[in-house]
Symmetry: C2
Subunit: 285 residues, 2 copies
């Protein structure tokens, strides 16, 4: 039985799931697939779903402590200003820091470049009971790397298969993967970058290279199309998240997380001690 | 100018600070030093101070991103059920996961035991802009280790000086350290352990060894006295936090964090690019 808020006419995990044949060019970043509510009512829904997420996250963490090896990995990919940071703050942030492991993948360091591109990724994987959050990820190695010709085409071209195998390995070892491809429109990106340039408390979020990347938009669209076509697998499908409406983005990713956690069919871990005996011991202690 | 809520008659960083001569035996875990409010009004105060903390934390993180090397380390030490987890969830949890690094220090692994006791601690230190949270810490090596005779007395006895030097090194390299010694009463601990044994959703927080530790209470009190006497330094003082009233514990640690962040005199980092030039570039992009 679903506890999905009534504003959702379709389950996000179904309606946002990338299907073979879907075209990046057809994505409307300003749309709100499956959701009939609007911004006004969204805060209340969000607050309630934040709590639901936090409860499930605590249960995952509790199970991890009790020996369950499962974990969850949220992969956030998207162009600058798509709202990755907003998801971390307003969705993941509702959880308990005890069980959250956040990693941002920027330009690789010298040490990272000396290793296989999955080296730094493996080091950041969530352990039992954790939710790992990747702010950008191994997909940079078939996105920015492809767009900027950082390695020869035959090298990045071989990575799709490698990534699928890598993710299969993770899933087989108990990690549920939620991959969100976040799409913002060119116009909305312009507005958001302009906002960062207007407010001194937002300067730190701005990088002149953002504009260089912006100029390569078509190449990125192409690279994203390839990523979705080639790495949206049954074991780790991609979800396409429209991002021009921040409130929708948050609601959608929140539901994707809740649905992933629910699919684990978590229960509170049973006591690994004799409860009555301990109660008696405690009385005398 | 202080923005401390009016319920506080004394600044927590002053009234809770351990002073030479203070006796652990005199601590009243049920007291609320410096605070005149009660539980009823505490939620509202807490909510407002959660936001204040979150704002300051974001500014610390922004500065870290902009090249400022400073960080903050929160050390939580206390007997089982003192409320370390509650601080992580309800105080630190108000922050952005992007800038929080939580580490719990349990029984050392085989690899950790093969290294110096500060090895695992150094690996978990916050980097620039981060708030590191230690759920237990290097102080375990002069607490549980001392109480259980895990190493000879001359070994643990030499650690106080070593810890002071280690923390001095951290402070000198830009880490502000907030050390909270959390004191719960024997009676309140009994109630909290009983609660964990009553609710299946709390079993995972219970460990039969908690009762063994409880029996060594006097030895722990002695070990805590030595920790406070010998490691409450000017560069990294201890704060003694009464913990029988959870709402007070949260308010107090929240203020200690806010005060530590305020003492850093953070500002939003200036743009490291030409704002006007970027605005012009963006218009054409």
């Amino acid at each position: 039985m679903s506890d999905l808020p009534s504003e959702w006419t379709h389950e996000p995990r179904k309606i946002l799931r990338f299907s073979p044949g879907d075209k990046v060019a057809d994505i409307d970043p300003n749309s709100t697939p499956g959701y009939t509510g609007d911004k006004d009512g969204s805060e209340e829904v969000q607050a309630e779903r934040n709590e639901r997420f936090a409860d499930l996250q605590e249960m995952l963490y509790a199970n991890g402590r009790a020996g369950d090896h499962r974990s969850l990995l949220l992969v956030l990919q998207g162009m600058d200003t798509a709202g990755k940071g907003s998801i971390v703050k307003h969705v993941v942030g509702a959880g308990n820091p005890m069980g959250i492991r956040y990693t941002a993948f920027g330009v690789p360091t010298e040490e990272e470049r000396a290793h296989h591109y999955l080296w730094r990724i493996r080091k950041a994987l969530p352990v039992a009971g954790q939710i790992g959050v990747f702010d950008r990820s191994h997909y940079e190695d078939v996105l920015v790397v492809r767009v900027h010709d950082l390695v020869p085409p035959e090298v990045w071209a071989s990575r799709y298969v490698e990534i699928n195998a890598f993710e299969k390995e993770l899933v087989d070892s108990g990690t549920t993967i939620v991959k969100c491809a976040m799409f913002v429109s060119l116009d909305e990106q312009k507005d958001r970058l302009a906002a960062r340039l207007k407010r001194p408390d937002k300067y730190w979020k701005y990088n002149p290279s953002d504009l260089d990347e912006r100029e390569k938009w078509p190449a990125y669209q192409e690279a994203y199309q390839a990523v979705l076509d080639r790495t949206s697998t049954d074991h780790a499908p991609w979800f396409v998240v429209p991002c021009d409406k921040k409130w929708y983005t948050r609601l959608a990713v929140n539901e994707l997380l809740i649905e992933a956690l629910k699919s684990m069919e978590l229960e509170w871990p049973p006591a690994d001690f004799d409860v009555e005996a301990e109660q008696k011991r405690l009385k005398k202690a």
